[in-house]
């Protein structure tokens, strides 16, 4: 692996430390690493592991001058792979095809097969959620935040709040990993929530919207789960956690960068933005939730700004769904 040097080993010209290419002879400083990454990415593509290929190509982008032809070529590949991952193209050959004996069991067999996927999905997601706890920075900041919320609201509510925020952040981590974007583990900031520092940027607004809206989608799932537990057990603390969890995720839909709503809005046309802003006003009218009028006013401002000509339908649908579900959940009456 070549290291940045002040003197180009090929032409002997001086170059700035950290430069990606020699300004005299254009030698790529990280040539060897780039070749290794290209080989890794090609192998991963051939094996059908698009996420691994994306991760390798993105690392390559970090090592190339942004105005070079190689950068442009790799960026094209990243965009193509990202769209394929987004479209849900099978990652490995053979995955998802039921064995012949299952077909022989008829509808019951098919149901059993589907159930297997549900179980696998739940297990993998639970395993993934535990993964974030392996980072000392995440755990330490989480405990610190827990202490602050505990002092303010009591341990039950504090624990629920921390879990809600953690699940929201892991939604982002899941999406970032899916697209092969390198990122650091979530860090909690007592009183302010949590954040993730991505080391690379999304390839286009569509990818940015997927990553941004993944947090509120997972956060919504956590809030719904808390609400269902509250319904089943009558435990009002869980209802309060569901309500505050929904409120926090709704706040994150504020269409201002770098909040999640700002990322979602990036992929929307002006008409889609107008429709979502109208939905925000409607949700405010129906629920009288003060936060929604703030979302709507910021939405109006974003409608006046430059927007892409072709929007992303999925981001639009996800945004509308989140807005409706979170507004409804934030409006549930809670007696604590």
């Amino acid at each position: 692996m070549s290291q940045p040097s002040d003197i180009c080993p090929d032409c002997g010209g001086a170059q700035a430390p950290g430069a990606l290419n020699c300004p005299q002879c254009n030698r790529l400083v990280h040539a060897e690493e780039l070749k290794e990454l290209a080989a890794t990415a090609t192998q991963a593509e051939q094996a059908g592991d698009k996420t691994a290929a994306l991760a390798a190509w993105r690392r390559g982008l970090d090592l190339l001058p942004p105005h070079s032809a190689q950068y442009a070529g790799i960026r094209e590949r990243v965009l193509k792979l990202s769209r394929e991952v987004d479209a849900g193209a099978p990652q490995r050959a053979g995955k998802g095809i039921a064995p012949k004996w299952i077909a022989g069991l008829g509808a019951a067999g098919l149901l059993l097969w589907k159930l297997k996927f549900v179980v696998v999905w739940v297990v993998t997601k639970a395993k993934f959620l535990a993964l974030g706890l392996s980072k000392s920075g995440t755990v330490f900041s989480m405990v610190l935040s827990l202490g602050v919320y505990w002092a303010a609201f009591g341990w039950k509510f504090a624990a629920g709040l921390i879990v809600s925020i953690y699940i929201h952040e892991m939604g982002h981590v899941w999406a970032l990993r899916k697209f092969g974007i390198a990122a650091e583990a979530p860090m909690f900031i007592p009183g302010l929530g949590a954040f993730i520092r991505a080391k690379q940027y999304p390839a286009d607004p569509r990818e940015d919207a997927r990553v941004g809206l993944a947090g509120p989608l997972w956060g919504l799932a956590a809030a719904v789960a808390a609400w269902l537990i509250a319904l089943a057990t009558g435990w009002q603390s869980m209802a309060a956690i569901a309500k505050i969890g929904a409120w926090i995720n709704l706040f994150n839909l504020l269409p201002v960068p770098p909040l999640d709503g700002g990322r979602g809005f990036r992929a929307l046309t002006r008409m889609q933005r107008i429709a979502i802003t109208a939905a925000m006003f409607a949700a405010w009218f129906l629920t009288a939730e003060g936060l929604l009028i703030l979302l709507a006013i910021v939405g109006v401002v974003r409608c006046m700004q430059t927007a892409p000509e072709s929007g992303d339908r999925r981001a639009f649908a996800e945004f509308l769904f989140l807005l409706a579900a979170l507004s409804a959940l934030a409006a549930i009456p809670v007696v604590v």
Binding site: A31, A69, A72, G191, F195, K199, Y201, R263
Partner: protein, 269 residues
């Protein structure tokens, strides 16, 4: 709950890859007629001749020299009044936004305190030409304090006015329990006096003074608000300090504009 990430390259799109041939990674290829990819990351202009590395970014000699020119720092008084003006503007803006959101939504969204601290720190830093020093740091802290305090001026004004005129309906609306002792006291001002400009000006002045206790009261009311405000103060302190300049170079860009590819390329890998 946000995602912090690096920014996209600012100066233009990369060129199209010429064909579908396998890429080589020995030498960077640039569109013929371009400058070999070297651009000043502060001005976005192509680098010709000498360049530096300023805080890890490529900077043209022109830009670095303009930054290091003592004339660019202005006078001491100019920096002081620049910081004062920009900091005051940022504090007023922060107070209006925070107070406005509170009035609109009914929520005290604490993250605005952190955001206000960040903006005020940047404003004071820019006004002082990033000269740094304890004076500007304290100025930034003072403006954060004022920003938080001033966001409470409307409520404080109405509260004082209601107290002076014996109108306890305001407190009922705010969900504040009425004090029997207060109920029995006579109004200090009559209805006519209440409408005068002098009365309003005095109440406004009183609101201005009383609201200065706002940050203390907020911190005492909630540990979370205390922490968020501390973030705001910390950001203001951090951003209003002296700019740290790490300068490497000068280096020679060497390749003439339009240099494009070097004459002998190794075979593609």
């Amino acid at each position: 709950m946000a995602i912090d990430e690096p920014r996209l390259p600012e100066s233009g799109e990369p060129p199209e890859l010429p064909n579908e041939e396998p890429m080589q990674f020995d030498r960077a290829e640039f569109r013929p007629g371009t400058d070999g990819g070297l651009r000043c990351q502060y001005t976005g202009k192509p680098v010709v001749g000498r360049y530096y590395q300023l805080n890890g970014q490529i900077a043209s000699a022109e830009f670095v020299e303009s930054q290091l020119d003592p004339k660019s720092m202005g006078t001491k008084a100019g920096r002081f009044f620049g910081a004062l003006g920009l900091g005051l503007g940022a504090a007023i803006l922060g107070a209006v936004v925070w107070g406005g959101i509170r009035a609109l939504t009914g929520y005290d969204i604490g993250i605005i305190a952190a955001l206000a601290g960040w903006v005020i720190g940047i404003a004071v830093g820019a006004g002082s030409k990033h000269n740094g020093g304890i004076l500007y740091r304290l100025m930034a802290l003072l403006f954060v304090w004022l920003c938080i305090s001033w966001s409470f001026i409307p409520e404080t004004y109405h509260g004082i006015d209601a107290s002076m005129s014996g109108d306890d309906s305001y407190f009922t609306e705010q969900g504040i329990e009425s004090d029997p002792e207060f109920d029995e006291t006579e109004p200090v001002v009559s209805g006519e006096q209440r409408d005068t400009v002098a009365y309003k000006a005095i109440i406004l002045l009183m609101a201005f003074v009383v609201s200065l206790a706002g940050p203390v009261l907020m911190a005492l009311s909630s540990i979370i608000m205390a922490i968020i405000m501390a973030f705001g103060f910390w950001e203001a302190w951090r951003r209003s300090g002296a700019a740290k300049l790490q300068l490497n170079g000068p280096f020679e860009a060497g390749a003439a504009p339009g240099g494009g590819l070097p004459p002998a390329l190794p075979p593609p890998s």
